[in-house]
Subunit: 251 residues, 2 copies
DNA sequence: GACATAATCTCACTATAAGAGATTTTAAAA
DNA sequence: TTTTAAAATCTCTTATAGTGAGATTATGTC
């Protein structure tokens, strides 16, 4: 891997922790990162002392309590979470549904706020869990607004998923679909993430860049075309309100 | 402040974010940390690119989405959270109460898991929010087991709080109370954190060091001496089970 | 007590970080 | 639109720290 400065090297340790691999031994970290033993132990010492990592049984490391505290601070401070809360309240009062705010960062999407008025809400993607990028309304509502330079690598990476949900077989076909979504200002997906559910999502934009998406999920069995159209309008409008409130001047 | 290595200097930026001050401008960060402008901007660039910080309106920074994702990973990976879950389930089924696991790290306590069977549970201390150190059963259950070297600075720092809840007026008096708690293996507090509530807490120990506490909170109006004694026994026993399961060999 | 592994230390060498000051970019005001 | 101010980045010299090989210590197991 290319040479990096020291601060990036220590932060790179944190990048390794994932859902499929939440625990690491020092030897594994050394091998994966290419660091020597003294270097890695110096970084682990700093990360442990700051609370970002903690030791767990078997000589392994996990993300630590500082992370738990910082997430609490983020929940409290994120203007997007604050601005969205009354809108989620209103939308879930108006329809039996789940309403989510999903942030797009780096190349991941994750839910940062949600409310539900559905009878038995079960969230496969609770706050913080990265969502699948190649499928669903949320992903498409974001992709539709990404600049080409960011979009092209994503389309390549998720080509199989995009093909398998019937979005298109070629880059040209996919581009056509995304253009249509951009014009509509909203994306709709049927059962792509959660079987039997309809997702309706619109992007939240900061200077035309999609930083997040607002999504409503409803049960397929209750839906007809008219309802979907109405909810689509509300979702688009609400996403625009949130965008204006946070990211436009004099908002 | 004393000289620190680069990795600690960059992590020190993250330390500044707190509940009372969740947003910072670069100028404020420079002043508080004593860093020059180019140095701080280099650190901010790394932290922003890793997702640990994000820009919000008005040229300020907040903790970013990476923190939200890492908290999710911590919830999934923390063996304490996993080991405690069935016990919290059992305890909240047996009594109308709120049951919590609170981790002790650095000099802070924060809730990492909770369940409630109380009729109207309202948590003043949701996951991640630091809890007051000078008052309540949880704090005392932890303090009672801290080594003297860690305990003495804490007693000094929270002397006023400790006095105002009637624990003792002098270090000697407080030491007597903490010794009694250590012998009992459990601490009980009446209305010190949440008015009208009784807290009953026992430490979770790793090699005799208190890394966490298990606490049950019940409504004061339902309690009598016999119930408190019974719940105290269950809390102590459950905390010991959890300690054994996670921190003792062949657990 | 012996042995193996985990973790830390030492120090010479190498590389990078820091920061003063300059420059560029961005935002705001006129 | 222009001007001004502030935010942010860049350059480059100097100073400092980081790296890692190998040694040593600490810890755990048999």
């Amino acid at each position: 891997m290319e040479k990096r400065n020291s601060q990036d090297r220590v932060l790179a340790v944190l990048e390794l922790f994932s859902e499929t691999r939440p625990l690491w031994t020092p030897d594994e970290l050394m091998r994966e990162l290419g660091y020597t033993r003294p270097t890695l132990y110096r970084y682990l010492k700093s990360l442990r002392e700051s609370g970002l990592l903690m030791s767990v049984r078997g000589g392994r490391f996990a993300l630590g309590p500082k992370v738990v505290e910082m997430d609490y601070l983020n929940r409290r401070a994120d203007p997007l979470v604050a601005a969205a809360a009354p809108h989620l309240e209103r939308l879930t009062a108006a329809h039996p549904c789940t309403a989510l705010i999903v942030r797009w960062y780096g190349d991941k999407m994750l839910c940062v706020a949600s409310q539900s008025s559905a009878p038995h809400p079960v969230s496969s993607y609770p706050r913080g869990r990265p969502m699948p990028m190649g499928r669903g309304a949320i992903a498409r509502s974001i992709m539709a607004f990404l600049p080409k330079r960011s979009l092209v690598p994503l389309l390549e990476r998720y080509a199989d998923d995009l093909r398998s949900v019937g979005l298109g077989a070629t880059a040209e076909e996919i581009a056509v679909v995304l253009k249509r979504i951009r014009r509509a200002g909203v994306a709709v997906a049927f059962g792509e993430v959660t079987p039997g559910a309809i997702g309706i999502a619109a992007p939240i934009l900061d200077a035309n860049y999609p930083v997040a998406s607002l999504c409503l999920t409803i049960a397929g069995q209750h839906a007809n075309g008219g309802l979907i159209d109405r909810i689509s309008g509300e979702v688009r409008q609400t996403a625009n309100l949130i965008s204006a409130e946070i990211f436009e001047e004099n908002g």
